[in-house]
Homo-oligomer: 717 residues x 2
């Protein structure tokens, strides 16, 4: 879309005038002018001050025409009887003009009547709505949906960040449930997709260029096979839009985060020798966790804590301090933070609560201001601390964690952080970091993403969040991360329905979670439906190699599992490969005549290990197959650990040969399948007992990431 | 709906005539006659054989009118140019008549033209579609949806068994996604719900009374504020409809099932002393499982097996035999079954495979015929056997199971059966029965339901199934069971889309799973989305008492869990109680000033056991609260087992006082929360570590059952 055809000056003048007049909404003619300045097609129209002028205008466009009252006080014209359609002769226009004026006066005798808008009536087309709102998290977002019942009752609408690219806009046409309508159904022609997408881009540019435009509705837009015209336009202004949040530079973020995650020296403010105190737990975990750098206890009442010399103030510490972990009550934080700032620390980890979350916003702001003055970044307050396993760093009051691996996790809530810790420990999940974000007074998800994206110890990221301080910064950081590693998000509070604004249709549709959902997808993150799913994806994603194509094949010993695994594949948006005849014949060579080839490949229940092995080998060997889903059935002939060992061995052998396909397994059987599943997980195969859904959901998450990262052609899901 | 106003004789005559003429579809006038005979309103209309007759008819109804070609060969009239709308004068009708004939001849020169239908054009109304199809599983089902894009693109349609009651029909109006449209949106009036529901009932009666009507479309039906009129009617006949399946009487089923589940004597056909053989495993499991009745090994080559005297044939067994468990190859089954029949056994448990599942339908039919001749019921073939813990009965080749409890489980697949066994064992799920159904040559889910419904050892039922041999018998058995105990169903193959028929709109919409889903809900069963959910519901439902009202309250130590638990409650269709001011004040008395009352009640993270205890007590004590969802956060102040023990103690105390509310808990913390969750489960509180979704989903399943059982007012879900 060529932005150079925009007449920004005309819109600037228009908006300034409307605001100068103390108005917050544009009249229809003003809205039309704004649209025209941005190349948004509108019907032929004009304002008539008399019935005769109306007839003259109508004769100019050609009949039929629509008449609409123009009054700054009458926003809902239809309710006011201020709209007449299908006037197909001079006589009809004449009579209509008079009746519309009478209706408007009856509706609001005080209303100032600017005139009557005479509008060319458009040919029949598909009604769609294109709008824009100012979201509290994401700023300007653009919306698209079909008109009428579909948006109003079924809320079938989709959102993207503004400005939207042509690709974003095109994806919106496919993202609504009723997308098929645009392709032409019930004998209707397909709409002009380029024209519709162009209109979305232009509206999104308009609201982005003019932050004062709080809400916009093009409703309806009439889309036909040869174009898209905005038949009605509503623009609502906010005279004082929120300013953009200041951003740290990427280099600054990385410098601070490097010192936070790989510190040479840590001071513990409020370190204590007394068991049960947070300042004692933090010290103990730093020591027990094996942190190899300097640990400086700071406590004016102690000489030594856990064998380390204690200092009355951080300023007394002899060397440099990268990180100060605070384990003192909230009220003592400001003074200690001043000293930490003067010491030149990169980050203050504020474990204590008693700030914004208990209502003390002033104390939190005081702390933020002090930190900003010294260039100290704050983690927290109100957190359990953080872990970075590559540094053997357990700066937390919980317990050390030492299963090193690729997943970095964060949580906004302490409870969820504890669940992350417990789950990781019991499942032996390989972790690079666990970070508490708490009140997010400063450091937040986008800072973590910026670090983890380039951190060689991290191969996947999972984040629990309840809100985003700056949705745009998050999206930007996520987009920079996703091409390199998957980002899983558990967005809590998703069922809370917050209406942003009531001034426009689009505003009424922009419920909190709908916008989050669309824009998180636009950012390429994998949204987990619940806590356990987030944890399972976090555990699985680093284990699974990236698939190189869409063809998934199910090999199962239990026909019943095969059916459920197929269901799960469809749910997860996976493509069950259509097995070509030669491959079908190759599989059939290994399975009993009453087994089923095709997909799932049912090797039947009574088969020995050699049948599992032969079919898995074939699945890994054939380059047309890109991922395997295994369904194991516990029998005496092939016990669980025999299956697990043979599968791990064969997968390893192929990986050693450079053939690295994702393999997941569902194990149905008696309790020995638990040990077998754990063994498989440890050997690079995502395996679960008693469920057909979990292994397939993990594979589905990997595919969603691979698509978002551009490593696979975009699928239908 | 008064059925006595139906003119069955007229429809009988009509259908017989159409079939006698070798046709399988009714003309429009015939369809109208059939509808009129069942009190389904149709527009004023008649057939004109000339343009003059058309004008006369139109003048009779009043203008405008619609003209439609009538020809048995032209089913898709619009495509043939055979429909003209809005003819509002005698001249227009005259001209229209001639053009419609010309179009029809151009479309199909061979088509026999019966005449032109002149139809009163109806006032604008909401277009809906009401239809009926013959489903292979459930027989006649009736369908309802909104017209146009909503059914065709969004497939927003709902199904019920025919005949439908007035209550069924009314529920259909609320079951579509766009239900709000019927209540009036965008300035439209609400439709006449009674008229619409009446029309659904009447069509469902019509197709039920005449099995030859394979498919029916009333499309569109025009619904207005004052009625509902079927504007177009299509009826498709099947000259040879499938006969109803023969049914066993309830008394016969119970007599056989009692002897199967509580046998005094079991014979093992093919018992073996050789470890590794199925006939040895079955013997061992019967003995090791502690079965107290007689166990008779049958094996012509042995004198004694596992210390029990062996017999050459079941006919040589001295006493009566209730059950014969077969552990011989399939080909030996018929002869042995003859003997079992002659011996007078109630049931033959056919473990062997090699029947229909491997393609040998003839052998399976032979076995079925033998069993029917002797009145022996067959379980299987192709199964792992069955368990009934109250009889200490483990008639299976797996391993014994001895955690007695209330849940009866069945599976169609052996693999899923093994998963049931392993899951139950590892979670110590209290089980009354685990039954393999396999090929379901005879005994199937409805027989099991009939038994378990009245079995005092069973308090909940969970079934994995891939198909139903007789959907109507299942629904009948489920409806008889659900008022007494919950029935959970995992229907596998739900994503398989099978189109039943292409002859009607309704047929094209009746994808396999859509019909299953609606009718399982109509039957009152709880459908589990996946295997693990079925198992978790089975484990949880017998543990939870039945709620006495809708008010759910969340009490949480972690604010973050509270948000996720709220999300989960909304997902599960639960009602978060609006806390009245006095109760709010009562909770506030126990929690810190910065905690949040309301719902969730956030007691905050650092609280001692007494705060958990006080708030849980209040939640149990106040009669306005009906269920509790607890969110625990692992801290040093309140360790996991302390929380678990106090919660179990308080809940027990209230239960002893007769206050028996469902309580579920989500435990966020380090690995000790696993032991605490298990302890809580053992003490009647459904508790899970690391997940906010699972405990709430279990509570949601209990509520769904309570509503289906009529124990709660029907909610919005």
């Amino acid at each position: 879309m060529a932005q150079h055809d925009y007449d920004r000056a005309a819109v600037r003048t228009l908006i300034d005038r409307v605001l100068a007049e103390g108005r917050t909404s544009l009249t229809a003619p003003e809205g039309r002018l704004a649209c025209q300045a941005y190349g948004i097609a509108t019907p032929g129209e004009g304002i008539a001050g008399s019935a005769e002028e109306a007839v003259a205008l109508a004769s100019g466009f050609g009949f039929p025409v629509v008449l609409k009252i123009v009054s700054p006080q009458i926003l809902h014209k239809t309710e006011a009887g201020g709209v007449l359609l299908g006037l197909d002769s001079a006589e009809a226009v004449l009579a209509g003009y008079h009746s519309i004026l009478a209706n408007a006066r009856a509706y609001d005798a005080e209303a100032e009547i600017v005139g009557v808008q005479v509008q060319q009536q458009l040919p029949p087309g598909q009604e769609v709505i294109i709008g824009a709102v100012t979201d509290p998290t994401f700023g300007k977002v653009v919306a698209f949906g079909l008109g009428g019942v579909l948006v109003e009752v079924l809320k079938d609408v989709t959102f993207r960040l503004a400005p939207a690219t042509a690709a974003d806009a095109g994806s919106m046409l496919d993202s609504i449930a009723a997308a098929e309508v645009l392709r032409g159904v019930r004998g209707a022609a397909a709409v002009d997709r380029d024209a519709l997408a162009g209109l979305i881009v232009r509206l999104s540019d308009l609201v982005s260029d003019f932050p004062e435009i709080a809400e916009a509705d093009l409703n309806p837009v009439l889309a036909t096979a040869s174009g898209a015209v905005a038949a009605d336009i509503r623009l609502i202004l906010d005279p004082s839009p929120a300013p953009a949040r200041p951003q740290h530079s990427r280099a600054d973020i990385l410098e601070s985060m490097e010192r936070l995650m790989k510190p040479r020296a840590i001071a513990v403010i409020g370190a204590s020798a007394e068991p049960g105190k947070i300042g004692n737990s933090v010290m103990r975990n730093l020591v027990d966790g094996g942190f190899a750098g300097e640990i400086y206890p700071v406590n004016p009442k102690a000489d030594e804590i856990l064998g380390r010399k204690a200092y009355p103030s951080v300023l007394d510490v002899p060397g440099e301090v990268d990180v100060a972990v605070f384990a003192v009550p909230a009220r003592f934080v400001p003074a200690a933070l001043e000293e930490v700032g003067r010491k030149g620390a990169a980050a203050a980890v504020l474990i204590p609560s008693g700030f914004a979350e208990t209502g003390d916003h002033a104390l939190q702001q005081q702390v933020v201001d002090i930190a900003a003055r010294y260039g100290v970044r704050i983690l927290g307050p109100n957190i359990y601390g953080y872990y970075y396993t590559a540094s053997d760093l357990s700066a937390t009051f919980c317990t050390p964690y030492d299963v090193k691996g690729g997943v970095a996790l964060s949580s906004q809530s302490g409870g969820i952080g504890m669940a992350i810790l417990g789950f990781s420990r019991t499942t032996r999940t390989g972790v690079s970091a666990i970070v508490g974000l708490g009140n997010k007074a400063d450091l937040d998800e986008d800072d973590l993403l910026t670090f983890f994206a380039q951190d060689d110890n991290t191969t996947a990221i999972a984040m629990h969040l309840e809100d985003l301080k700056d949705g745009r910064a998050f999206v930007e950081a996520a987009r920079a991360t996703v091409p390199h590693k998957p980002v899983v998000v558990l967005k809590a509070g998703r069922t809370a329905q917050g209406t942003i604004a009531a001034g426009s249709h689009t505003g009424a549709l922009a419920g909190d979670d709908r916008v989050y959902d669309d824009i998180l997808r636009q950012a390429g993150v994998i949204r987990a439906p619940g806590l356990l799913e987030m944890l399972e994806y976090a555990r699985s994603l680093p284990v699974l190699p990236t698939p190189k194509g869409d063809n998934v094949v199910i090999i199962t010993g239990a026909g019943g599992s095969g059916v459920l695994l197929s269901d799960a594949c469809v749910d997860a948006g996976l493509t069950l490969m259509q097995i070509p005849p030669d491959l079908d014949a190759a599989f059939r060579a290994f399975i009993p005549p009453f087994g089923a080839a095709g997909n799932p490949i049912d090797i039947t229940g009574g088969e020995p290990p050699s049948t599992y092995e032969a079919t898995i080998r074939l699945g890994l060997e054939d380059p047309r197959i890109h991922a395997l889903v295994l369904g194991y059935w516990h029998t005496i002939v092939t016990p669980p650990m025999v299956f697990a060992e043979l599968t791990a061995r064969v997968v390893r052998e192929f990986r050693d040969r450079g053939i690295n396909k994702p393999v997941v397994a569902s194990l149905a059987g008696d309790t020995e399948v638990e040990e077998a599943s754990a063994y498989l997980f440890d050997h690079g195969i995502v395996a679960y007992p008693y469920t057909t859904e979990k292994p397939v959901a993990a594979l589905g998450a990997k595919y969603r990431w691979a698509r978002a990262a551009g490593l696979l052609p975009a699928g239908p899901h």
